[in-house]
Amino acid sequence: MNNNTETAKKYYGQTILYILTLLPVFFWLIQKPISQRFSNLNIITLSLGQVSGLVGMALFSLAMILSARLKIFERVFNGVNSVYVDHHFIGGIAFSLLLIHPLLLAYTYLLISFKEAALFLLPSVFWPQNYGIIALCIMIIALVITFYMTIKYQVWKFSHKFLGLAFVFAFVHMMLIGSDIALNQPLKIYLFVLGMLGVTSFFYRALFNRFFVRRLKYVVNDIVSLPDNTIEIEATPKDKALNFIPGQFVFMNFVSKNVSNEYHPFSISSASGNPIRIAIKELGDYTNKIKNIQKGDLINIEGPYGNFNFKNYSKKQTWIAGGIGITPFMSMLRYIKENNSDYDIDLYYSVKDESGLIFKDEIEKIALDKKVNVVLWRSNINGFISAQSIKDKTKDLLDRDILICGPLVMMTALKKQFVQLGVKRNKIHSEEFQLY
């Protein structure tokens, strides 16, 4: 039951996005007869230019709103990751439409002369249009950085904030330009509200997050070195402890002179919030520096996020972890260890080789005590883990809920294979936090 609602919910969020995007087109279309909008090529390009601007701005607003990372989005979109995937997609489409917007409008001038078209595209004494040009320039620079440059996350995050500035200019341009928007009251109000929500989201998340977003303070208590360049940080709450469900993740930053202070998502590996444990593997610029954290450093924690909750599903479950994807399952296992549970669990822990088994001893110990059947899968010996090999070992696979967390490639491949083996889609649950 729960599973079904969850799949349905995902579409619910995207349907809302479709409606919110197409609503301005609807207002615009009923403004005057369609035949008038598409009577000749000249008028058609003008109309398409207007539509690209309207839809582009609606999508730009929605991308801004989604970036606010509100908890309600998680429920509507099936997870924060899904929200970010949509944010990225919507932003890209908005950018494309807004690029084509001035070109379509310039077509009319092109018929007069190249000079007129050039004058139209360049800044002039007409400020409402200049705001649009400024917005477009900022947007192009910021998005070229986002899409085409490999830079440090920190630099990326800083440059990405400029899109908020571009949005403010684009918003002013839209409200002052005095085209069909000025004459169409419903359209004007709709775009104003959507745009204001976008601007508010930008201020809430990108500029003043330290004042608005609720965060919990933790102090680093212990740093445990684990195999495979992994560390587990243990921290105790300064005031209030985080309340979460095993399998969830948080956004956190370190207040330390050794590590930069931006927020990153991490899975919780402990069963409770006091103390909290976070396992981090060295995978990039930022995570490589985390080993320099010292005892007593402060952590700000925002969350919890995520719908990866084993208690939502039937008592018979198969868990599949790939590499560092074991962390949410560690949280669940530790929870099961501390609480009496009647869950029947098969855990497949797939790693490259023996050295990748970061929680091996602890997992085997829990497996002895509780009804957890553990299969350690070493790819260098057994080959890549496949749905068939899991089915060979777990005979009642079709009756079970399957929870997967690991590299995106592995999750995508396994999900496809499970469906081919006849597992129902709503029995497969995965935790994705890997953007592209």
Binding site: Q36, S39, N40, N42, I43, L46, G49, Q50, H88, F89, G92, I93, F95, S96, L97, L99, I100, L103, L105, A106, T108, Y109, L110, L111, I112, S113, F114, K115, E116, A117, A118, L119, L121, L122, S124, V125, F126, P128, Q129, I140, L143, V144, F147, L176, I177, G178, S179, D180, A182, L183
Partner: protein
């Protein structure tokens, strides 16, 4: 996937903008040479009136001659200047006047015709240059009658003779009902 879409649109944008600006610079140099030889600078930037169609309809027209005479002469003047300057003709209106329906279509800031003294003027290219701001003109794009607004400068006096002569450059034709 989205990256490819963005790349395509960004390429189109960059090529189009560079193309337009480049062509503008090139044709501008060329037209300065042309105007030097012709010793006449272009006055009319755009006209929707097609001279040939105009004369065709002239013979067919046999109603209210008295009223239309003035309009005809002025329209003919405009078309003459137009052909002298070899300004390219883009859209064509094939009647001796502009119907209210046609007029009403040009009701945006990017395609703006206004009505003054029963005549239509294409203000699209002038909007940005209007000292009183485009927003003083845009409410009249394709609708209403801007006569009073023009005569009184929106209730603040009156336009200069220079402004009035400037207006004639944007004349399109008489609006017929």
């Amino acid at each position: 996937m989205i990256k490819n879409i963005v790349t395509i649109f960004l390429s189109i944008f960059i090529i189009a903008v560079i193309g337009i600006l480049g062509a503008s610079v090139l044709t501008n140099q060329k037209s300065t040479v042309d105007s030097n030889t012709q010793q006449q600078s272009p006055v009319v930037t755009e006209t929707n009136v097609n001279p040939t169609n105009f004369t065709d309809n002239d013979s067919d027209e046999n109603e209210s001659d008295d009223n239309d005479d003035d309009a005809y002469t002025s329209v003919k003047n405009t078309t003459n200047t137009t052909s002298n300057n070899q300004t390219t003709n883009t859209t064509t209106t094939n009647t001796s006047g502009i119907t209210s329906a046609q007029f009403a279509k040009h009701n945006t800031a990017s395609d703006c015709w206004i009505k003054i003294n029963g005549n239509a003027y294409n203000m699209t290219n002038y909007l940005k240059a209007h000292p009183g701001g485009a927003s003083a003109i845009t409410p009249y794009c394709g609708k209403g009658d801007a006569t009073a607004a023009f005569d009184t400068k929106g209730g603040q006096g009156s336009h200069s003779p220079k402004a009035e002569s400037l207006l004639t450059n944007y004349f399109l034709g008489k609006i017929i009902n």
